[in-house]
Symmetry: C2
Subunit: 460 residues, 2 copies
Amino acid sequence: MESSSVVLARRAKVCGLLGGRPFVLAAGEAPPRNYAANAYAFRASSHFLYLAGVSVEGSYLLVHGDGEASLFVPAWDAAWALWHGEPPALEALAAATGAAVRPLAELPAALAGLGALTLPPPGLAACQALSRLLERPVEPGVLGGGDALLADAMIQARLRHDEAALAGIREAVSVTAAAFAAGLAATRPGALESSVRAAMEAPLTARGLTTAYAPIISVRGEVLHNNAYGNRMAAGDLLLVDFGAESAGGWASDVTRTWPVSGRLTGVQRAWHGLVEAALEAGIAAAGPGVRYRDVHVAAARVLAEGLVELGVLRGDAGAIVEEGAHALLFPHGIGHLLGLDVHDMEDLGDRAGYAPGWSRDARFGARWLRLDRVLEPGMVVTVEPGLYIVPAILREPSLAGWVREHLDLEALARCSEVRGIRLEDDILITATGRENLTRHIPRSASELEAALDGVGVTK
Amino acid sequence: MESSSVVLARRAKVCGLLGGRPFVLAAGEAPPRNYAANAYAFRASSHFLYLAGVSVEGSYLLVHGDGEASLFVPAWDAAWALWHGEPPALEALAAATGAAVRPLAELPAALAGLGALTLPPPGLAACQALSRLLERPVEPGVLGGGDALLADAMIQARLRHDEAALAGIREAVSVTAAAFAAGLAATRPGALESSVRAAMEAPLTARGLTTAYAPIISVRGEVLHNNAYGNRMAAGDLLLVDFGAESAGGWASDVTRTWPVSGRLTGVQRAWHGLVEAALEAGIAAAGPGVRYRDVHVAAARVLAEGLVELGVLRGDAGAIVEEGAHALLFPHGIGHLLGLDVHDMEDLGDRAGYAPGWSRDARFGARWLRLDRVLEPGMVVTVEPGLYIVPAILREPSLAGWVREHLDLEALARCSEVRGIRLEDDILITATGRENLTRHIPRSASELEAALDGVGVTK
């Protein structure tokens, strides 16, 4: 959790951008899993977390135009304490938030006639509760009339991370590194993917933390958001692991590695793995202050295209391939996204956060899934995550990429079937002079991964 | 997952009770965690699971009065497959459900003018989607006009478990037993409660399973639904663990054990632990076909009251203590609940499921938290879970139990401060001739627990 000086500075910044307009943010509520009393673990709205610095279910932060703030909290009675324990101490909440702590029952009167702006919290129930309080519609993913002003102020504040935010991301990365070590150690031919998941989540759970998102741990790495873990790992498989811990204060990390289940890459796998790492390095090298993020995507795509031509899988000129988008047959997604309190930071605001004003998504296959296009600035943290995938859904589906398929040598591709999906992803802090790779210490190259697998006796 | 013959038999039963009225059940949807694309793990509505036997997000089961059923599924296109993998095969879904599989787009026409009954799925978003389909309000926890008919038919069907359901519960219990073994082995003075949680959840995660509810793993066992795991375990503490796995098909288990962090109970802890186990045995012995569940509660409460008088903590006649409810000062909750697809089975229907028609909750302290009062029948699975707790929130709060506090010897209680909370809980199947304890093999008594802790070297 952040200290009160951190959230006070953040609130001052947002208030300054708002020109005196008051606003209210809901922490939100835990949704029911199979009935109301059996809920998912509560996770506060990121906007609330950013400016309140505490996670209190059912509470609201009201910030006045002058920067004064009140935290409205539910009534916790003796029966609540019997079932849930001692409620948060109000003095401690006030000290942590730098806000006056007031009972929730006083919020309607405080909001009456105020014209407070807001942002939709996650979940329909929390939106509707806020809608009743404000007496106007609040819908998931929809900005009300003047609320775009608040959205833009939050984006301006959250795009460039302060020291507390960076400390949170570094904390998340540190636990993620422990999880990858455990995942490498747990990899065994014949075991289920879920056994690696169990090994990787244990270090988080043991620290009272969770993942920032549902991890991808699969020998079917060509399924981009594969959240099933039921395959049995075979010796010849590559295991793609996209995993990130969330810090105690809610900050995300997001790291991908791909390693051989047997402990040793085959020749073809090694060539493709090396190519993805070269693309990652090219993308990272391209990232820096003043650089347009789309150019990071293009830099990585160019390396992939050149390598695929060299491998004989793509035909033609690498420049033309990238220009036409044919690389997207094997690299269909974008190079990355913002990272912060959300793993796709501020994606609740849609492309308003990810795209600079006036810029919008390229409709072409591949490019359409680029989640971020802004000029990078110091303090931003972005992922760089190139990958190569042999995706039946693309190769058999004319609507996805039929128009560039003449660049593809299907016979050469058929000889690479021991590669299904490889992705490598690092978290990159943009600095005043360049960049810092926050996740480089997590084994990544073929040789680092093989050495790590050797060390735990995976290699047969 | 259940086989099609199982769900066909269940649907036939419910249809028979409905007298020809058609109904539709929503599987529901995964709620967002911090933005729409970052969702919690999907868990289908229990009513849907019970009658469809498969878990398909965003789908609907429409059952006609003649028992014919259709499963309406979302359109999974090539882009979906790119991100999420091969969609479920429609033939396999049809075979598994014994239902015709149809595109979701056809559901509005199929429902038009049908007057289909329904039950609210978990979550406001799923309720509103169903409301739009039916063109009438569907609200969480609220039964629409004729929908009580469907609720009562589902209750009649789900109260007594079929063999497939019992197999699911036994599967959940089996994994829960593995989790308790891991939790005992992970208990160490000086470690965090969360480290025990990590050890217990790993065997579930490794099998692709989850917990049926947020576990309670705490040295502050007196907080009844304590879902924080941040305390450091000290040698003199008791660790209360209330933990249940959910089977692959969604069936719950729910087991509580309490053990000494040091590996050895103190004298006072041993006396209280033995008393709770005696109450558990009395409750289990009282449970059987034809028995009113409230009498199970009273049987256990009577043993607790007698024991507490013997220990000098309560004063007066045990019968009078139970009659007046003074035992609830130390045993404030109910003796248990139904167990099935929900850990509190069918609690989404409120007391309609837990209480027999015409019976309702006793408003008195303690009794008001009894979640179940029905005549037990073969095939029901219920928990029996007595406990003793020293709860500051009760002892200092006149509104909770001031009127019976003269039964309490506060000085004697003060000498028992090394006990904070002890609960022991088993899952009991009511049989034609009596009962079967499904969870008795999980170490429970002081000596079994100490032996288990010895075996893993916890004892210093």
